[in-house]
Amino acid sequence: MEFLLQGVAEVASIQVFALLSLGLVVGIVIGSVPGLNVPLAVAIALPITFNVEPIAGLAMLVGIYKGGTYGGSLTAVLINVPGTPAAAATAIDGNELTRQGKAGKALKMSLYASVIAEIVSDIALIAFAIPMAAFALRIGPPESFSLGIFALTLVGVLSQGNMVKGLIAAALGLFLSTFGVDPLSGEFRLTFGQRQLAGGWSFIALVIGVFAIAEALSILDANLAQIRQKGALRLSDPDHCLDRDDWRRSLPVIGRSSVIGVFIGAVPGLGSAVSAYLNYGLSRSLSREPDRFGKGAIEGVAAAEAGNNAVTSSTFVPLLTLGIPGDVITAIMLGAFIAHGLVPGPALFEQQGPFVAGFFLMIVAASVLHLVIGRLGMYAFVQTTRVSNPVLFPAVLVLGVTGIFVSTSSYFDVYVMIGFGVMGYLMNRLGFPIAPLLIGFILGPLIEIGLRQAAIIGRGDMTIFLTRPISAVFLACALLTIVVVGWREYTDRRKRRIPRQEERKT
């Protein structure tokens, strides 16, 4: 506590709060627009941060980061077009709630779950940064592989009732993730001589394609020209408020997802999308009523959003304790720290007390401001429900195309996006779930790189996956999931078969 008090003088300035708020607003908007992403926003905001106090510059970047990680859920819930890849997990139940006329519930839960998870993450960063860094270093290649396999088995949970189609979609996602430069040898792989494919299929193009374009195509198809509502929905209506039952279902899920998300954030290279899907899948498999999921379960929104935002503070753990940036945004912040004469590492906490304490306080302030700005911003975002689909979707498509073009300045990814849109539309029509496709695509590199690196470390001896304890635990969880899912599927089928047999007898 005394340690934190040293930082008050650092953050108690209007500049810090103004830039923090600005960062959050920019972040939420950028995050909600499909195609615009947080690294791009950070790169554009960077010149502004040179001209202000270091802590204020960091505040702006933190605001963009936290706001951007959350913002994707708004469009995911309202129009089933996730603004960020991680928010695709939120869309599963969030958009279903919107279809049921309960958009307000989903929006509020995603904000509150995000903020609660952020605060858990803030506390973890402040109190346990050093032990968490030690844990993060124990997640090496074999552990990444086993975690990836575990997360992949959750696809089975997500596609219950339609297991074969779910597994096909996941396999397709894994296959798509193998395009591009081979991560270990650096050779071009499956590029068919197309240099544009060297970086693999663009993840953003994939997400916008299978959601925005596919959604637009099905609207064309169904000729859904309905004007949605005359007025915007009223967030204070009982249908849009969280009741006791919602909280009872969601709070334990938020708690678990926050803790898991915090650990995932502390490991460099995993990220918010892995956390969102892992927590969503885990909550569904641990739920007493797994059938609710996918049909508008409020706890599904809570799991995905808490998992998503819990990484946003713990991602500073490797930066502050080891001097290793986990992603693009923390890499830019490392520069700001070094500029201030700070050397990240255990000594940082002793030698640079006031600045680090100020940084911690600023991060907590960011979470609180996020709640306020997010709640106010909701009034603006619900206006989209007043717009009819034939007007809304062309606008979404324009934003998507522009966003994709801005980050690569090439039409290739725009075509890729349209191609994936057609694929997503066909998958919807034929009853293939989209989520397993994205999970396969996210986990593919994690599993491949983990497997091949571990093989080199173990000199070809695959028992390394069982002799490293954390890896063995993940593999055991994977096995357990397969058994449980298999058992549920088996009993479901029996239940379905028995009535049919009885019908025949009569």
Partner: protein
């Protein structure tokens, strides 16, 4: 302040482009600076930092355009295919300029470009964990000779740190195992976690770990010691003439008019040598290692001939 400046620039560009300045003095419209890597990456940050003062010096805005992909070859090709009028310049790096065209058939060579000047040449440092028994390069080489194939090093495949360590291993007759990494930061994590025994890395990647005492530098692969790490001896001092230092600089396609090239060089020289700009660069990116166009061109040729035998098949 910022929007006002953009507005001013846009206005100026509008006025100029409507033909009021009929004299057609270069530059008369905004210049596009292609970055061949993603927004927010280290090259991108440096380019964005440079764009503002360079634009002020030239009197027109310089806009950064990210064209990532193909190991940097997509953006490099785009710079080559643009009209030869000097309105498209390339923020070029060892990766897209030397290594990618050597390794893959991308349809261009280093000498399809004219150098404008070098901005940064990073030092490569060979780092080990603080608890490593090796104190000098000789300690490590002796250990690696005694047990061939025992020690692992981490590096992104076929980039400067990897190739430099390969050159060292060849000249010292060592057999090391390569654990390919996905970037500088994952490599540093692998070293600290003990997954690899040594790490050749850009100084910026390991700077905080070295200063914080988590890692130790055995050697730096430059002709002179790095002023930021005066205690780390060069490989040459320890008897191995192995060099490597990835660069970032500016280039334009060959065929741009002489006077345009001269204008660009003069503006770049002025900005790159401005101490205020140097200070800013240290803050967010890295220390500058300015070289004028001619010497920068010599660096290209040196690197091309060094790496060609290792990458060409």
């Amino acid at each position: 302040m910022k929007p006002v400046r953009i507005l001013k620039g846009a206005l100026a560009a509008l006025i100029v482009s409507t033909g009021l300045a009929a004299a057609a003095e270069y530059p008369e419209k905004p210049i596009s600076m292609i970055v061949t890597w993603n927004a927010g990456g280290s090259t991108d940050v440096l380019a964005r930092l440079l764009a503002e003062p360079l634009g002020a010096e030239l009197g027109v805005p310089v806009a950064v355009t990210n064209m990532p992909g193909g190991g940097g070859s997509l953006g490099t090709r785009a710079a080559l295919d643009a009209p030869l009028d000097g309105y498209t310049i390339l923020a070029t790096t060892s990766g897209n300029h030397i290594l990618t065209p050597l390794k893959n058939d991308v349809g261009y060579r280093y000498d399809d470009f004219e150098p404008i000047g070098q901005l940064v040449a990073a030092s490569l440092i060979l780092a080990v964990r603080e608890d490593s028994p090796w104190l000098t390069l000789e300690d490590f080489i002796a250990a690696a000779r005694a047990e061939p194939g025992k020690y692992l090093f981490g590096a992104v495949p076929d980039v400067a740190p990897h190739l430099t360590l390969r050159a060292l291993a060849e000249s010292a007759g060592l057999e090391l195992v390569h654990l390919p990494q996905q970037g500088g930061a994952p490599g540093a994590t692998a070293l600290l976690a003990g997954d690899v025994d040594l790490l050749p890395a850009n100084a910026a990647t390991v700077a905080s770990s070295l200063k914080g005492g988590k890692m130790r530098g055995l050697a730096v692969f430059s002709a002179e010691r790095d002023p930021a790490f005066p205690d780390i001896p060069t490989a040459k001092e320890q008897g191995y003439e192995v060099y490597g230092s990835p660069f970032v600089g500016l280039a334009v396609a060959k065929g741009v008019p002489e006077d345009v090239l001269a204008t660009l060089k003069t503006a770049f020289d002025k900005v790159a040598q401005d101490p205020a700009f140097g200070e800013r660069a240290i803050k967010v990116a890295s220390a500058l290692t300015y070289l004028p166009a001619e010497e920068f061109g010599a660096v290209w040729e040196r690197d091309w001939t060094t790496y060609a035998p290792m990458l060409q098949k």
